[in-house]
C-alpha cells in the first residue's frame, strides 16, 4: 500500500497545480460521460427519452426500467428479464477465472524457477494465444467441442475461456515471479521441499497483487465475451447474450430506458470489481507486468 501512495520527488508550482487539477477533472468528465448518459436515461420514462434532451435530468424519476430489465423484460420467448442469465454468467466466469489463474500461476512458476532448455520458446509460443482474433477460432473450436461432447454447455465455455486466457495469466505470473529471488527457491529445494511445496509455501503467499491483476483481467474479458457465449452457450447463455437479445431486437419497439438499465445491470459485476480492486490493480501492475 505504501508503494502506491509513495510521493514523487517532483514539486510543482501553484498555477501548474490548478491546471493539472482542471485537466484531470476534464478527463474524468470525459470518462464518465457514457455512464452518465446510460444512468440518466435509465430512470426516465420512454416518452421523455424519445422527445427530449439526452443529457437532461428526468422530469419524472422512475425505477420501472430497472425492474423490467431485471425481471420482466422479454429476452426470449419468456419475459424473464436478465435475472436467470446472471447465474449462467457466474457459473461460467468463476471456474474459468479460477482455473486460468491457477494454471497461469503454475506456468509462471515453472517458467521462472524451473527453467529448462527452450523454455523461452515455449513461453513465446504460448503468448501468441493472446493475440489471436476470436472470430478465427469459432468454427474449428466448434468441431473440437463437438468431438469432446462439450458443445452447448457451461464446461465447454469454461474450457474455451481458459484456453484463451492462460496466455495472459502465464505472462502476468511469469513476469511477477521473475522478480522473486530464485535463491530462496533453491534454498528450500536443498532443505528437501518438493515442487508443489515450494509453490504453496513460498511463491503463493506473495502472489496477492499479481493474482488480483490476473483475476480482474480474466473476469472482465470473460464476463464481457459475446461471441463464444452466443455460439457455445447453448441453453445456458451468459448475460451478454441476454443483454444483446434485449437491445438488438430486429423489428420491435425499442425501449431505450430498459436497454440502458439492462446494460448497467450487465456491467455491474465488472464495474464493482474495477472500483473495489482498482487500487490493487495498479499495485499489481507495478509489482509485475510492466517491469517485464
Amino acid at each position: 500500500m505504501a508503494a502506491v501512495i509513495q510521493d514523487t520527488a517532483v514539486s510543482t508550482g501553484r498555477v501548474t497545480r490548478v491546471l493539472i487539477y482542471l485537466l484531470l477533472l476534464l478527463f474524468a468528465l470525459f470518462y464518465l460521460l457514457p455512464l452518465y448518459v446510460m444512468g440518466i436515461n435509465s430512470v426516465k420514462p420512454l416518452a421523455e427519452i424519445t422527445g427530449g434532451n439526452m443529457m437532461a435530468l428526468p422530469e419524472v424519476w422512475t425505477l420501472d426500467p430497472w425492474r423490467s430489465a431485471w425481471s420482466t423484460a422479454q429476452i426470449g420467448v419468456e419475459p424473464t428479464g436478465l435475472k436467470p442469465y446472471f447465474l449462467n454468467s457466474i457459473l461460467m466466469v468463476v471456474p474459468a477465472v479460477a482455473i486460468s489463474t491457477i494454471v497461469g500461476a503454475l506456468n509462471g512458476y515453472v517458467l521462472t524457477k524451473w527453467r529448462f532448455r527452450g523454455d523461452t520458446w515455449v513461453f513465446g509460443l504460448m503468448l501468441f494465444s493472446c493475440f489471436i482474433p476470436f472470430q478465427i477460432v469459432l468454427i474449428p473450436m466448434a468441431v473440437v467441442l463437438g468431438k469432446l461432447g462439450l458443445a452447448g454447455s457451461v464446461p465447454g465455455l469454461v474450457l474455451v475461456h481458459v484456453v484463451y486466457g492462460i496466455g495472459f495469466t502465464t505472462l502476468y505470473f511469469r513476469n511477477y515471479y521473475a522478480a522473486f529471488p530464485t535463491e530462496l527457491v533453491r534454498a528450500a529445494q536443498i532443505d528437501g521441499a518438493g515442487f508443489f511445496q515450494i509453490f504453496w509455501r513460498i511463491l503463493l503467499p506473495v502472489s496477492g497483487p499479481i493474482a488480483v491483476v490476473s483475476v480482474i483481467w480474466q473476469f472482465t474479458n470473460i464476463w464481457n465475451d459475446f461471441l463464444f457465449g452466443a455460439s457455445f452457450g447453448g441453453t445456458s447463455q451468459p448475460m451478454t447474450v441476454a443483454l444483446n437479445n434485449l437491445v438488438q431486437s430486429s423489428t420491435g419497439v425499442k425501449e431505450y430506458n430498459v436497454h440502458f438499465a439492462g446494460a448497467i445491470l450487465a456491467a455491474l459485476p465488472t464495474l464493482i470489481v474495477y472500483i473495489v480492486a482498482g487500487r490493487y490493480f495498479v499495485r499489481g501492475l507495478m509489482a509485475g507486468s510492466v517491469k517485464g
Binding site: Y31, L32, I132, Q135, V144, A263, Y274, F281
Partner: protein
C-alpha cells in the same frame, strides 16, 4: 536395491514435474492456437462457402480479396485507426499518469473513474456512444439546446471523418488502462535518482524528458503490445458505433473477416483475410517477443 532406486525415482519425478505441469497448457496452445491457425490457412486455399469444404482453389481467394474495394478500405482504416489510437492512448495515458503522480488529492476517486471503461464491453456502452456522437440526439443537439447554435459535430455521419469517432471511443476505453500501466511504472522509479537530478538543477520538464520517460521503456513496450493487438482485434467497437458505415467507410479487417466468413457465406475469402490479419499480428509481435525474451536470458 529398493533404497537406491526410490530416491532416484523421486528425483526423476521432481525433474519431470515442472514439465508435466506446463505440458497441458502447452499442448492446449499447440492445438487451439497453432492448430486452428493452420486450419484457417488451409481454409483460405479452399472454395469454402457456408461450411468448411476442402476443395483446393489455390490463391484464388487471395486474388479476390485484394480486388475487393472494401478490403482496401479496411486496410487503410486499420492503418489510420491503429496509428492514431496507439499514439493518442499512449499520450493521454502518460499525461494522466504523470499528473496523477503529483500528490493529487482525490487520486483514489479519479483512478477508478479513468479505469472503469476498460471494464465495460461495447455491447454495454455502444448505444450510449452512438447517441452521444449522433448530431440529432447527442452532443451537437445538446450544445444547440444550451444555446451554442453554430456548434457542429457530425463526424459519425461523414464518410471521411467517421473513423475518427471510432478512435475517440477506443481511446476512451483503453487510455485509463494505459494510464494505470504508466502510473505503476512511475511509482516504481527510485526517487533518489530524481532528487539527484533536481539537485543538479534540472527543470521538471527536463526531469521527465531526460530521466523519467526513458525509465518507463518497459511500460511503453507493454502498452504498445496491448494497444496494437486491441487495434487489430477491434470488432465490437466498430459494430456498436457505426456498423461499418456510413456506407462501408469504417470497415476494418476484423469486421470484414467476420462478415465474409459468417454472413456473406464466402468463408474462403474470410479465411484469407484472417490469414493476412494473423501475419500482420505476427509481424508486430514476433520481433517484440524475440527482443524481450532474448534480453532476459
Amino acid at each position: 536395491m529398493t533404497a537406491s532406486t526410490a530416491p532416484d525415482f523421486r528425483t526423476r519425478l521432481q525433474d519431470w514435474l515442472p514439465k508435466l505441469v506446463l505440458a497441458p497448457s502447452f499442448a492446449v496452445t499447440i492445438l487451439f492456437v497453432y492448430g486452428f491457425i493452420g486450419f484457417t490457412v488451409l481454409l483460405s486455399f479452399t472454395g469454402s462457402k457456408m461450411l468448411p469444404r476442402f476443395d483446393w482453389v489455390g490463391w484464388e481467394n487471395y486474388e479476390k480479396l485484394w480486388a475487393l474495394p472494401a478490403w482496401n478500405t479496411a486496410i487503410v482504416n486499420i492503418a489510420i485507426f491503429a496509428s492514431l489510437y496507439i499514439v493518442i492512448c499512449t499520450a493521454v495515458g502518460l499525461m494522466l499518469a504523470i499528473f496523477l503522480d503529483q500528490k493529487i488529492r482525490g487520486e483514489g476517486v479519479l483512478r477508478p473513474i479513468y479505469l472503469y471503461p476498460m471494464a465495460l464491453s461495447f455491447i454495454v456502452t455502444g448505444t450510449a456512444w452512438k447517441w452521444f456522437l449522433d448530431p440529432g440526439i447527442g452532443l451537437e443537439k445538446v450544445m444547440h439546446l444550451w444555446g451554442w447554435e453554430s456548434f457542429s459535430f457530425n463526424w459519425i455521419k461523414d464518410s471521411d471523418m467517421a473513423i475518427y469517432t471510432i478512435v475517440i471511443a477506443a481511446v476512451w476505453q483503453t487510455s485509463g488502462f494505459v494510464m494505470a500501466m504508466f502510473l505503476a511504472g512511475l511509482r516504481g522509479i527510485d526517487n533518489e535518482i530524481l532528487k539527484a537530478a533536481q539537485i543538479d538543477g534540472a527543470s521538471n520538464w527536463q526531469l521527465y524528458r531526460r530521466i523519467v520517460i526513458p525509465l518507463l521503456r518497459p511500460a511503453f513496450l507493454s502498452a504498445f503490445v496491448i494497444l496494437s493487438h486491441l487495434a487489430i482485434k477491434s470488432y465490437d467497437l466498430v459494430v456498436a458505433l457505426t456498423g461499418g458505415g456510413p456506407g462501408r467507410a469504417t470497415e476494418m479487417p476484423a469486421t470484414f473477416m467476420y462478415s465474409y466468413t459468417f454472413t456473406r457465406n464466402q468463408m474462403g475469402i474470410g479465411a484469407s483475410s484472417a490469414v493476412i490479419m494473423l501475419m500482420t499480428i505476427a509481424a508486430i509481435m514476433v520481433p517484440y517477443l524475440y527482443a524481450e525474451l532474448k534480453e532476459k536470458k
